[in-house]
Symmetry: C2
């Protein structure tokens, strides 16, 4: 098993970040505009779509207000199904720290390399959305390679 | 041992990317302006500095023209020393694909999370440098958190 790890600091409160991770409106502002479902309840299902590229369905498996969000991927690309996507939040004086982990990849395939870079791009979009009011969710996301 | 993985596609030839990874001028255009040393010879030493934050010394351990660059970290932060930073290149019709691996971290510490995101930011700087003529090397790099 191999994991994708990231960290960004957002000049805001953890409360703002928690909202951006647990509401369809918040998620649509930085990951993909085509987001629907329930993110603020354990057991809720979130559906993220990326046009012709398909998408991911997540089940919310753990929530601790202002501290932790954990999803299990229940539908999507074969490499993603069964993996877990988590965000651990902590507050320092100026920043809400977002520690990210996409855990449980079976193999470090090329697609995992792509997704690692793309997660960084989307976490910078989350940071921008909260700090400036404008993220870069799909389909207006920053493209990184020939896949997307 | 845990690894940082990334991938970007650069609209260019692998030759252009190889130059950007093996010359001090090329490296100064996307990672840090304060780059010196020898990157185009196995056994060469490259010195990357980031002002007050310190820096890294790398030994070139493998070079295959237009295909592979591999460095060993020989000085820098404790967590980095002994790790390996590698770039595998391949050409498709429109893109030079850059598969990146920073391998051999002892533990997935918070600093590794930070470095993973920051590597993505710098690889996007490499892509921008080649595609647009202008990268964002330190000290004008995109800041991601309270560390840098």
């Amino acid at each position: 098993m191999v994991d994708i790890l990231h960290k960004v600091g957002v000049r805001s409160s953890v409360d703002e970040v928690f909202k951006a991770l647990t509401t369809a409106d918040g998620l649509a502002g930085w990951w993909t505009t085509d987001t629907s479902g329930v993110g603020d309840t354990v057991g809720g299902r979130l559906e993220f779509r990326f046009g012709d590229l398909g998408g991911f369905d997540m089940k919310v498996v753990e929530l601790v207000p202002d501290e932790k969000v954990l999803w299990e991927v229940i539908d999507g690309p074969e490499e993603w199904v069964g993996t877990h996507v988590g965000f651990d939040l902590s507050q320092s004086a100026d920043y809400a720290s977002v520690q990210f982990k996409h855990a449980g990849w079976k193999e470090p395939v090329m697609f995992m390399h792509h997704c690692s870079t793309k997660w960084a791009v989307f976490l910078m979009s989350l940071k921008a959305m909260i700090e400036t009011g404008k993220g870069a969710p799909a389909p207006n996301d920053v493209k990184i390679d020939d896949f997307n």
